[in-house]
Symmetry: C2
Amino acid sequence: MKEGPVIASVAALLGDPARANILTALMDGRALTVSELAEAAGVTLQTASGHLAKLDAANLLTAEKQGRHRYFRLSGPDVAQVLEALMGLAQRTGATRVRTGPKDAALRSARICYDHLAGERGVALLKGAQRQGLIKGEKDMILTEKGRAFFAGFGIDLAQLEKGRRPVCRACLDWSERHSHLGGGLGAALLSRMMDRGWVRREAGRVLAFTCEGTEGFEAAFMLPAVKGSQAA
Amino acid sequence: MKEGPVIASVAALLGDPARANILTALMDGRALTVSELAEAAGVTLQTASGHLAKLDAANLLTAEKQGRHRYFRLSGPDVAQVLEALMGLAQRTGATRVRTGPKDAALRSARICYDHLAGERGVALLKGAQRQGLIKGEKDMILTEKGRAFFAGFGIDLAQLEKGRRPVCRACLDWSERHSHLGGGLGAALLSRMMDRGWVRREAGRVLAFTCEGTEGFEAAFMLPAVKGSQAA
DNA sequence: TTCATAGTTCGATCATAGCCGAAGCATCAG
DNA sequence: CTGATGCTTCGGCTATGATCGAACTATGAA
């Protein structure tokens, strides 16, 4: 009966509003300085510094010193995943406010989850890729030959990705939609290429905005029904 | 920048050792009384009652009154899933003690996750079912015709399952293995049938113990390589 | 060098919340 | 009814920890 404290220690870290703000601010995968995080959390620099020390000690964050700045980022995608799961739970159990503002809708449509595309668009991408037979598999997904050709044509260096420790394909449960989207190295590379192409750009916070050409290119590339809704194959 | 508090409120609930003990005690899906939970958490009855009131108010638990007892259970499988995810994170970040006792190994091998089979055996089951073509799909898995016949033959009333609100097949990420196992209504029904057949029985806590015949039947039914390891198809 | 910015550490304050003893309801057995 | 058990509520104690002011260190700029 001693399993509780194990999860309690990490959950308690997420349970402080200031720390939770810090972590959600980092959920887009960027690295931020102590001052930026202090601002995001709404506390003073000293307080933030203390929180960051704790999160770092617990290995939820990794620190990187550059000149007189110290940059923090999430220590891995799994941290972001747990945060998303908690958001989903908070929503289901009604802890979230009803405030469904415009920013909320934008977040649902497309956002960054650590370093890859999430929200309606992210779910659509994975579905499209699977329908086209680019990716196969349930949870530990795998690239098909067709998929390798496709993503290489998209400008992604698969050999490079496969050298890293990070899984290339990874299903990541979306808190707003109730389906998976594509994470892993490939998910990250895809978002990166899409931003290079000017299909999508970052807005405030984690929101992603698709350009007109971006929407067209995206739907054409992944063979999605126009916009959203309509009938699928 | 006001997303933090949303997750903080629920995370804080999981962040207290007593409450975390209560929740992990409920992770096997059973309903327990206030006294039993107080004992599991190592606190007095009054204290536990207070904690339970909070967890209930947050909709993480559901209460059910029966005579002069009050039974609590997790409000849904998603709660158990978040707890498992937190355990996984705690393990990866080193918050867990090195103590890899015998119970720990047993837990890894086979355990109850809410109401279905988890651990090595749970992951093996899903893999076997997929290799045989009983189940198809990535995250929102679907039964094949072959699968319907198989599970019906196993003594499961699929029509009944499909009437419920609960998804029949659901991938559930395993914290010890790093793969999915089968949750949902079908996962629950399967474990139930396996216990009926005497293949497996509950040990202390969440540990499940396979009998000799159980191991044989299990491996035969799902066409698994003997024991563990060996070469797969 | 001097000054400014970024960050850490220390110390004191203060609020929150966990905890238990005691008393109060509610349900059941006799 | 009386008594016993299961649980909740109340009140007070206590400890933890979040917060910020102030002082200190470190890096960079002039």
